[in-house]
């Protein structure tokens, strides 16, 4: 076991976990933050995407020890004071979320994208979200949601 200190959604945490425990499992099992989903477990689908020190990663591929000392942002940390983040509001209003399994990762990938490209082209949106698979929407409504969020200057 390793003792790991990290900050999750602004809250400092100290945990004794196996050093090879996946960040995904640390979040879901130890911290009960079940908004982060598991899809493929191979880094292909993006359902488990979170931000580590502001950078988008697939949490199923990150061993716990490698995030010791890091700041993590999960979907639970995106809204503030019970109010949806503008990106979440746009996904809700534009039909960018359907069954919901891909949505947390999609929102965080959008957050990362708009951080780098506040006014992304459609091509930049497609590349930024290429690692997040959705089997419901056909992606068009997701792209529209991202474009709307960019218009609002939501980051």
């Amino acid at each position: 076991m390793s003792n790991i200190h990290l900050t999750v959604n602004g809250k400092q945490e100290s945990l004794d976990v196996s050093p090879m425990k996946r960040l995904l499992d640390l979040l879901r099992e130890d911290l009960h933050l079940t908004g982060t989903k598991e899809g493929c477990g191979e880094g292909e689908c993006g359902a488990c995407a979170v931000l580590v020190d502001g950078v988008l990663v697939n949490s199923c591929l990150v061993p716990a020890l490698q995030v010791s000392g890091s700041r993590i942002c999960t979907i639970e940390g995106v809204s503030t004071e019970g109010r949806l983040h503008p990106i979440q509001q746009c996904f809700l209003e534009r039909g960018g979320a359907q069954c919901g399994i891909c949505t947390p990762g999609m929102i965080l990938a959008t957050h990362h994208l708009l951080d780098k490209h506040p006014n992304p082209t459609l091509e930049q949106i497609q590349e930024g979200l290429a690692g997040n698979l959705c089997r419901c929407t056909g992606y068009m409504r997701i792209f529209e949601s991202v474009q709307e969020a960019a218009k609002l200057g939501s980051i």
Binding site: S2, D25, G41, G46, L56, N58, Q66, A109
Partner: protein, 291 residues
């Protein structure tokens, strides 16, 4: 079936020296893990056989891009995102930028490293063809010191490299002497994003009039390892791409490429398809030189 994580150990020594000391003390016992985009997949699918891992992801000594007048040096811990964001690489080595953009997705590029891509030693890896075409050298490091060799000598066979159990890849160096060269890179996969290549070709050529004065070809999935296509290069050197000779030049080049192609049937493609497409990519590059 996922592995039980309690069976695995992971340590994170504070410095490169400390990591090298640990590798030297028990050679072969500890497996280095950088961004984890390969080894964690193996863990998640129950295929990870190494029980003791040592993290090198946090080592600042391996994460650098240094630009000299005559070369660029890329630390093995440099991520694909770091590579894509570097303006010198963008201007001097567009083939490397293109291949870095093919490697996984943004989330994976934020974690995966150049050294990991090379050490994983897949014949289908995205960056090796560009590194081979650019005449890269690779520097390996252990507790005793460093050794530098041409990258063409690094891969021995399928997933086998010259890396010793106590060594890490330290850096990759690319000479900055390709001004005036025409550049080409193309990957053929099942879809644009995420797909692992069926075949890929990176190429550089310098023309003098219609004549090929220099040519460098790096390929993925053409044999059991990433390769420089030296027989094809030899067949093309000093040959003409003028209107009267281009068809004969291309025929000879395709024959030479077929002679050094040992493609395989696997889950991603067939040997026959790979061999045909490799020839087509080479022809596409050669014809583009006359435009």
């Amino acid at each position: 079936m996922r592995s039980d994580v309690a069976q695995f150990n992971l340590s994170a020594p504070p410095s490169l020296d400390a990591v090298l000391a640990q590798l030297a003390a028990e050679p072969g016992k500890h497996t280095p893990i950088a961004g984890g985009t390969e080894l964690m997949v193996a863990l998640n699918t129950g295929r990870l056989t190494q029980k003791s891992l040592v993290s090198i992801h946090h080592l600042k000594e391996l994460r650098f891009i240094r630009v000299d007048d005559d070369a660029i040096h890329i630390g093995s811990g440099t991520t694909f995102t770091d590579i894509r964001n570097n303006t010198t690489i963008a201007s001097d080595f567009p083939l490397l930028i293109q291949s870095a953009s093919w490697t996984g997705t943004i989330a994976n590029q934020n974690r995966a490293t150049l050294g990991g891509n090379i050490c994983n030693a897949s014949p289908a890896a995205d960056t090796p063809p560009a590194l081979l075409a650019h005449g890269a050298t690779i520097t390996l490091i252990n507790k005793a010191g460093t050794r530098t060799l041409p990258y063409t000598e690094f891969h021995l066979s399928y997933k086998k490299t010259v890396l010793r159990p106590d060594e890490l890849v330290h850096s990759v160096s690319l000479p900055r002497n390709f001004s005036g060269y025409r550049q080409y890179i193309r990957k053929v996969g099942t879809r644009n994003a995420l797909a692992i290549s069926k075949i890929a070709l990176a190429a550089l050529a310098k023309l003098e009039g219609d004549k090929i004065a220099d040519i460098r070809l790096g390929a993925a999935s053409l044999t059991d390892r990433p390769v420089r296509c030296t027989a094809t290069e030899a067949a093309l050197l000093d040959k003409s791409l003028g209107p009267k000779s281009i068809d004969a030049t291309i025929r000879a080049a395709r024959a030479a490429l077929a002679s050094e192609t040992h493609t395989i049937d696997d889950i991603r493609s067939t040997a026959k398809y790979r061999a045909a497409v490799a020839g087509n990519l080479l022809e596409e590059f050669l014809r583009s030189l006359t435009a």
